[in-house]
């Protein structure tokens, strides 16, 4: 028994059906605990006031936005090397979730930016590289949508994901270089490191992060199941069509040697 048996759609459907309810409940619990605790039972920050509480949405979504891309990269590699359909579909399923996470991170960041920096948007390196990530997600999803033949779409998006990952890393580096070079750092307080987060804020943050992680896994499982069902439907329809054309009047049903 290898791990690859889960790459069989049927096996995947069975296992995920068993996993999904528990996972969803756990994710909901963690997210709810983290957010409620964070929003209502932590003190206001002495400098940032209550705006600091947006961190419970901002940081987890930002982390998941990056992790989703990593997961897609791994899934794409598996598809290219071992051609397991489920992994291609899992990559496809993860993309919109990652996109939404990116949008949440961007939106909460922008909302946070207004009181903190006095502007919704500044060309800070970290924000900028998130914007680029957003573009990668858009392109990836658009390519999936554009190609009709499913296996070809899986192939091409996988290649895009591989090449895109390399360039995403390069961009991240280039963006840092670009803004440092302008000596703009002082007017733009870069999001600070963890050391600025005191324990009272930290514990609910951990809950929230774990919750978002579980939520991501649950959503991807759910969406993968939907994709599998949709592919199944597709295959059934195709077969019905094939049956239709065979009884068409000008093509007499041929005796197939194998039937």
């Amino acid at each position: 028994m290898s791990i690859w048996k889960y790459a069989n759609p049927t096996q995947f459907m069975r296992t995920s059906a068993w996993l999904l309810p528990g996972l969803s409940v756990l994710a909901a619990l963690c997210v709810a605990t983290g957010l409620v605790w964070g929003f209502f039972f932590t003190p206001d920050d002495f400098r940032q006031g209550s705006t600091v509480k947006i961190i419970y949405l901002h940081v987890p979504s930002a982390l998941m936005a990056i992790n989703a891309w990593l997961m897609m990269l791994v899934a794409s590699l598996i598809w290219l090397i071992r051609r397991h359909h489920v992994s291609a579909l899992a990559a496809k399923a993860a993309a919109p979730v990652g996109l939404v996470m990116t949008v949440i991170a961007l939106a909460t960041g922008a909302i946070w930016g207004e009181p903190m920096w006095g502007t919704y948007w500044a060309w800070d390196p970290r924000l900028t590289s998130f914007l680029i990530l957003f573009l990668f997600y858009l392109g990836y999803i658009a390519l999936w949508q554009a190609i009709e033949t499913q296996d070809t779409a899986a192939d091409l998006t996988s290649v895009l994901c591989l090449v895109g990952s390399v360039f995403a890393l390069l961009s991240r580096y280039a963006v840092n270089f670009w803004n440092q070079g302008l000596h703009q750092g002082t007017s733009v307080p870069v999001a600070t490191g963890e050391r600025s987060v005191a324990d009272v804020f930290f514990v609910p943050l951990v809950f929230s992060m774990v919750g978002f992680g579980l939520l991501f896994v649950a959503l991807v499982l759910l969406r993968t199941r939907t994709e599998i069902r949709s592919r199944r439907l597709h295959a059934l329809l195709a077969r019905e069509r094939a049956a239709d054309t065979r009884v068409a009047p000008n093509t007499p049903p041929s005796e197939s040697p194998t039937s």
Binding site: I132, L135, G139, T152, G164, S171, W178
Partner: protein, 218 residues
């Protein structure tokens, strides 16, 4: 390979080919921007390096969608794929032809057009050198994008969406080098980094391009 390159160049030069038009687009953009932004020469000088780079990038982008599209539509790509030429060579040749018809003229035209936008003279060497080193990467990356979308009708804009994020590092380093040049700072680091990107793309991307082509023809 040489035959293919020669044919692509011949096609570009013939009536309705793309030669010189990328250049014309670049020129027109450089004329448009002052109209859009207003004629204040201080502002123009400040944004000139960036606009020139963005213009070069867009001129490249506009000519991408037909790198493979025409060959695909009339069936030539099928025939090339069954020819004794490896598809990697086809990909490289196509990128080279694209560079010769787009990147090279852009590089040569950047200096006079910089004048139009009040680009400080000090920025000129970094700009031209940057374009010379960076446009090959634009062509190679663009060819990859074109291979991904070959076979899609109206793939033109989809290519833009796919390729622009990939263009980002080149653009950042290139524009940064030109801007540093304008301010009299040293420009070696961004130029070196950009050369690295160009070299790596040239060495590796044709394989991805060929793979994408194969998948698309299937």
């Amino acid at each position: 390979m040489i035959a293919l390159l020669r044919r692509d160049l011949a096609l570009a030069i013939r009536a309705g080919g793309g030669f010189g038009l990328g250049l014309a687009f670049f020129l027109i953009l450089c004329i448009l921007v002052p109209f859009g932004v207003g004629p204040d020469s201080g502002t123009l000088a400040k944004i000139a390096p960036g606009i020139l780079w963005v213009g070069a990038l867009l001129a490249c982008l506009l000519s991408l969608d037909r790198i493979f599209q025409l060959d695909f539509e009339d069936g030539t790509l099928d025939l090339l794929a069954t020819a004794p030429l490896p598809l990697e060579a086809v990909a490289t040749t196509k990128a080279l032809a694209h560079w010769i018809t787009t990147g090279l003229p852009l590089t040569l035209a950047a200096a006079p057009l910089g004048q139009l936008l009040n680009l400080p003279a000090a920025a000129m060497p970094a700009l031209v050198l940057g374009l010379a080193l960076g446009t090959p990467a634009l062509s190679v990356i663009g060819t990859f994008g074109a291979a991904l979308t070959v076979g899609l009708k109206r793939g033109g804009l989809l290519i833009s969406l796919l390729v622009l994020p990939l263009y980002m590092p080149t653009l950042l380093f290139g524009a940064d080098a030109a801007r540093r040049g304008a301010e009299g700072l040293e420009t070696t680091t961004p130029l070196l980094l950009m050369t690295g990107i160009s070299a790596a793309s040239l060495a590796l991307l044709p394989f991805a391009t060929a793979a994408a082509l194969r998948m698309n023809l299937r």
